[in-house]
Symmetry: C2
Subunit: 557 residues, 2 copies
Amino acid sequence: MTIAVVQFNPTVGDLSGNLERLVALAQEVQHAGADLAVFPELCLTGYPPLDLLENPLFMDEVEQSLEDLAAALPPGLGVIVGAPVRNLTLTGKRLHNVALLLEDGREVARVHKTLLPTYDVFDEYRYFEPVFERQVVTWRGLRLGLHICEDMWNNEEQAPYHLYQANPIDELAALGIDLFVNISASPFSVGKQAVRSALVAEICQEHGVPFVMANQSGANTELIFDGSSGIWDATGTLVSHVPAFEEGFALWDTDTAAAAPVNVRNDDLADLHDALVLGIRDYFHKTGLFDKALIGLSGGIDSALTCALAVEALGPDRVLGVTMPSAYSSTGSVTDSEALAHNLSIAFRQIPIAPAVDAFSGMLAEAFAGTDDGVAEENIQSRARGVTLMALSNKFGHLLLSTGNKSELAVGYATLYGDTNGGLAVLSDVFKTDVYRLARYINARAGRPLIPENTLTKPPSAELRPGQEDADSLPPYDQLDTVLRLYIEEQQDLHQIANRTGYDLAFVRSLLQMVDRNEYKRRQVPPGLRVTDKAFGSGRRLPIVMRWARAAERVRV
Amino acid sequence: MTIAVVQFNPTVGDLSGNLERLVALAQEVQHAGADLAVFPELCLTGYPPLDLLENPLFMDEVEQSLEDLAAALPPGLGVIVGAPVRNLTLTGKRLHNVALLLEDGREVARVHKTLLPTYDVFDEYRYFEPVFERQVVTWRGLRLGLHICEDMWNNEEQAPYHLYQANPIDELAALGIDLFVNISASPFSVGKQAVRSALVAEICQEHGVPFVMANQSGANTELIFDGSSGIWDATGTLVSHVPAFEEGFALWDTDTAAAAPVNVRNDDLADLHDALVLGIRDYFHKTGLFDKALIGLSGGIDSALTCALAVEALGPDRVLGVTMPSAYSSTGSVTDSEALAHNLSIAFRQIPIAPAVDAFSGMLAEAFAGTDDGVAEENIQSRARGVTLMALSNKFGHLLLSTGNKSELAVGYATLYGDTNGGLAVLSDVFKTDVYRLARYINARAGRPLIPENTLTKPPSAELRPGQEDADSLPPYDQLDTVLRLYIEEQQDLHQIANRTGYDLAFVRSLLQMVDRNEYKRRQVPPGLRVTDKAFGSGRRLPIVMRWARAAERVRV
């Protein structure tokens, strides 16, 4: 039997579009010789559909679309798809997350998801009732251990604890199966491909059974899906796969005695790059509302990298760079931006902000009389730029990309309603040190400095007052990023971080407090592309009004 | 035995402050004669602690604080408190949500929460492992049916379905108890008090057992807690209660044969008013960062109401109103704002925005050459005001309150980075028709038009172009709000709404589409005070990049 693992890039909520594409892909894999096509989790709705699932009309249309899909799929082909279905009992959440095996216009098997991820960006128990029941799906003589995404993730034998009671993998293996089939919507983070693949290989080796995994590709708002779908033989060797970040399929003949191992790229930086490009591209493609990306170019590294990535995602004709110098801007602010625009062959515009800054200064002269210049005056400049960019965005239907990185966002080194403005934050999950690595990677790949060397080497500065440098307010970025990575991504805390880094306790505490105190800014920034296991945004939910004074003296009454 | 139900207003994360206050309240109720004090759910951490619960140092400090609390409570008093504790097994979520009975420095009983709300604003299964085990807590001869918040909510006998399998109320009753004791953190929404009270009364009547409920009061970011704690006798009659929206306690002697029924205010509009005032007050009080509230006054009803509520919450000395007229502002824009400021006795400032608008106009002249004036130009005015207000906020440490209402936010009738700017959105869960009702309520209570009559009677307008009125872009607010209430709060959809209202299908569809398409704006607005069962914000999670074309023709391939 020939199995096709199909790495599908759905658009959330686009039931008719997804249906059409599912049918086309099914036809394609049948022509290529497949007997059974395996599509990802919730492929009909796209993942994550979020609270669309709570809309009864949406679920009515899902039900109708499932019927239409079954009728439209090519005869003779078995097709496994994922969809939400209604829970028809009178108890529990109103939906189930299921895998359906469709054949010749009918549903021939249905498997429910058991383990419902409800952590980080995942909210599945918000919508779905789990079903703790295991069954083998026997189809054309093949005993399939069909299950959904998280159902395979409670199997890590060496884990310090298990998040769930049930272990669907072990239970399926105990029932006697020929093949594990996992349908997933497992998002990308740097290094995740290797973790996922190692887990699958461990499962194959433990049970001596091959494994088919179909994972979603493409980006939906914050979440980017690499796919990395594949087929592993009974020894845990990857024998067929679909390249990451693309839509496509791979075939595998179950009768093949020994297939050659497949090598996949193992390059975190290249993956990070490709994920960001895909994130930008799919935001534009799937919203379908914006002709061009608009980027404020400061001459600095963040805006230069954002611009270069946008050009890769959209092409140079669909990117507009705008430099907005002020009295405090260095010469490089304009010349480096110009050089970048020239290197990337994009449209470029220069709009000095002095008129607006002077106007606000005059308007506020009476109110500000007798005060010293400070953050208020600095922010006016950033906000004058923000207003200018939004005016261009509103006038011409361009999407403003915001350019702040994760390090800045973590410590609040950004102006709300100023440089944070935009529809999509491209680098909000990329630390500053990784911003530099990505910029160098792009230049190395191009074989020439697309991003000007001066942008890479000059000291980072917000240029909001004379002679300002980031180093005046922040520690060196390698130290900052080390602390932030331990705190945010590894959930380490004060003493652990001080011990692991050797940094001074007061220094570490001051950084953690900066992170904690700036939650209010992060609540109002645009959605950002998630590329780590812990991004700011929907996966990190902290109170704004709160008073946890870390390591403060406790009151002993 | 005398039981005190204590309605406690904690600050999220303030372990030392909450501990100190818990001890003081315990001493107070003991002096008043209580043997047993019942505090709300998670009272040590405040509700909702959100992802603070994922921080190991935070949980270390919670554990230490629990020990300190037990030691500091007055001897001889039984005290029931709520706290998160670690799950010490090797399976499941890492915490439990528990009620602890403390006495003479020791924990004498522990009860786990079984039903974990994971819908709307609630994410409890993100953190807590449920425990499906029922026990009676016998204390000084009294058999207590102790349980936590949601544990009582699966008992609605007439519900079309039950969200959970377990019914802790029935299970406790079956074990034989003298008294139900519920500790809650059940947030306010208009009408919720009556629903909660009716549910408790039904439980009392069903089982013939009295009921003690201690609910949190106070506001934490979006969520406002009315408390409305009380004691119901075995017939379901409320016999003792703590007034809503305040911290306080009520006593009840279990040996009292028949207590007199207590009447509680039944006034949705007054509750809505009090909730908003509390929401503003606690945001200021609990953050402790801001001396004054800053409000941009347009002469319109939304900013006038926001301002009047802020004055009630903070006093006139802590509110600053700023009017920022443009070329398109009506005379009333300034004079009505002045009159309001005068009526409320607040500081007032006038800053015309023409210089900034002219400056942007000049800066953009080349880019905009040959285009017609439109949304871009309108938004520049709103954003010039936003920049001005934020400059004052940054300079003087005032908190900018944003004034948009739920109707506008629903259909995107607001300028991002302009009038949406602020730290707290006071009216974002109040429909425009309710904004008018609240304004009239305030005037009626004051016995004079604090909010100028002209503000109440003139046609609503954003005043961003000559002669503009809301009615140019939007239907009459009574129609709009009717549709929005059905769609957002009652989850009705296109045909249902058209049928129920008699409105034209195309008209309803156009409104629903406006709601769907403006999700991107709502993602970036400040947190807003939640006063209905379905507010924008953390309780309503919709994808931004999505293409659900409601009722579009389905593709039949």
